[in-house]
Symmetry: C2
Subunit: 250 residues, 2 copies
């Protein structure tokens, strides 16, 4: 491979984060066009039919969907493997990735992060307090009870680190952006597990870009990230209008 | 393998259909507990944390999510392969499966089939005509334009038959239940492609059970399917209350 891979999508997205962590862990050279999906231009619509991030470009090949992209990275760059070798373990890891993408995505991203972060600060709209309350007090606890029955006291879910550990932690990183912390008296194993995954060098490296991104207006994010040495693409398929505010930690 | 695999989920679900077609094509012995998710009992909630169908049981191993189940079947029973060998082709096939599961699922299942079939006939509720109109006249045509740019004039999307062909056709089978036919003047390649996939013996075999299921009240479906010789499980984790009506072709 001569050209670096390209990822389109903002550091704040948990779906983008999953893919970036896989790239980091596999030591694959990449560049990032860190746009928010709602500022994508016509080129972005062409590359992403559902206008979702992340998008992967590998030369002329364009691929959508974080789950599909992670599988592709595994097929194309098998080592280190992020999928268990045993078919049953691999299936369980894929299921937990799907559970994170769908259930944790609905609750943490759409009912907490979007309401308390994006709507409130970026779009200057009110948040729906009842949606947020239900998410934090009822829906997320259901997931935490389920995860508490599965996660190990030490190490990772399926022996070696896998896509399941990465996916689950990626979503709880966004919960932290809106000041949600897992109660370690009620869910001690899950609190320690998520903290352990987020301590990995790959997550820590990305956290620096995430922390700056979330405090910077959309229109200035590329410039700020460039100053930090983030591996940016030369061109962008986003149009960050200055009217968007700054995302503040809610 | 001594015990047959078990699938929990109704013949009418496109997500169940995907899995059943994979089982049929791979010649794997299975039994089915053909419940609708909303009549699942406590046991069903335990087996399916998100109360979705299909659920796979392979001995003591329980697995959720149609995409994850199909990958597991492929890993456990590799021949005939339903995933392209080339990583780029495999990624494209997985993307189209995801596109079908998410976009075609939203439009065909939730905005057409659910409104015009399930709500109207099974639950005896009104359908939202504007939702249905927009789905049929605006949202589904967007998908058909996209598919028309991808599907081949003959044969399958990626050489041999794959999960992509199976997934796309599975959803259009549900569109036919609410009398939606792809306009073959406007989308000639897609109309012919979907028809070609649905002619496969695996789809045709399932179609007989689907056609009877959709004309039978929920509470009598097991009995009627048993009389037809469907490969039913001995026990069920569903409680089909007699108050549900008959699903009629809308």
């Amino acid at each position: 491979m001569s050209e670096p891979l390209v990822i389109i999508g903002n550091y704040i997205s948990p779906y983008v984060r999953k893919v970036l962590v896989c790239l980091e862990l596999k030591g694959i050279d990449y560049r990032i066009d860190p746009i928010a999906p709602f500022v994508g231009d016509e080129e972005f619509s062409r590359l992403s039919p559902l206008r979702r991030v992340p998008v992967l470009r590998d030369g002329d090949f364009v691929l959508n969907d974080s789950t599909v992209i992670c599988e592709y990275l595994q097929d194309r760059f098998p080592q280190p493997s992020l999928y268990p070798a045993d078919p049953v373990m691999r299936a369980k890891a894929r299921w937990l990735e799907e559970y994170a993408d769908s259930y944790l995505g609905d609750v943490i991203i759409w009912r907490m992060f979007f309401q308390q972060g994006v709507r409130r600060f970026l779009f200057n709209e009110g948040s729906n307090d009842e949606v947020v309350r239900k998410a934090r007090e009822e829906e997320l606890p259901v997931a935490l009870d389920y995860l508490e029955s599965l996660v190990p006291v030490e190490g990772w879910l399926f022996g070696d680190l896998s896509i399941a550990d990465i996916s689950i932690a990626s979503f709880f990183r966004n919960a932290a952006f809106v000041r949600y912390q897992i109660d370690d008296a009620r869910w001690p194993k899950t609190a320690a597990f998520v903290s352990r995954v987020l301590q990995l060098a790959a997550f820590q490296k990305l956290a620096e870009y995430e922390n700056r991104t979330i405090r910077t207006p959309l229109a200035q994010q590329r410039e700020v990230l460039a100053d930090m040495g983030a591996p940016l693409t030369e061109t962008s398929c986003g149009n960050a209008a200055p009217r968007y505010g700054v995302m503040r930690l809610g």
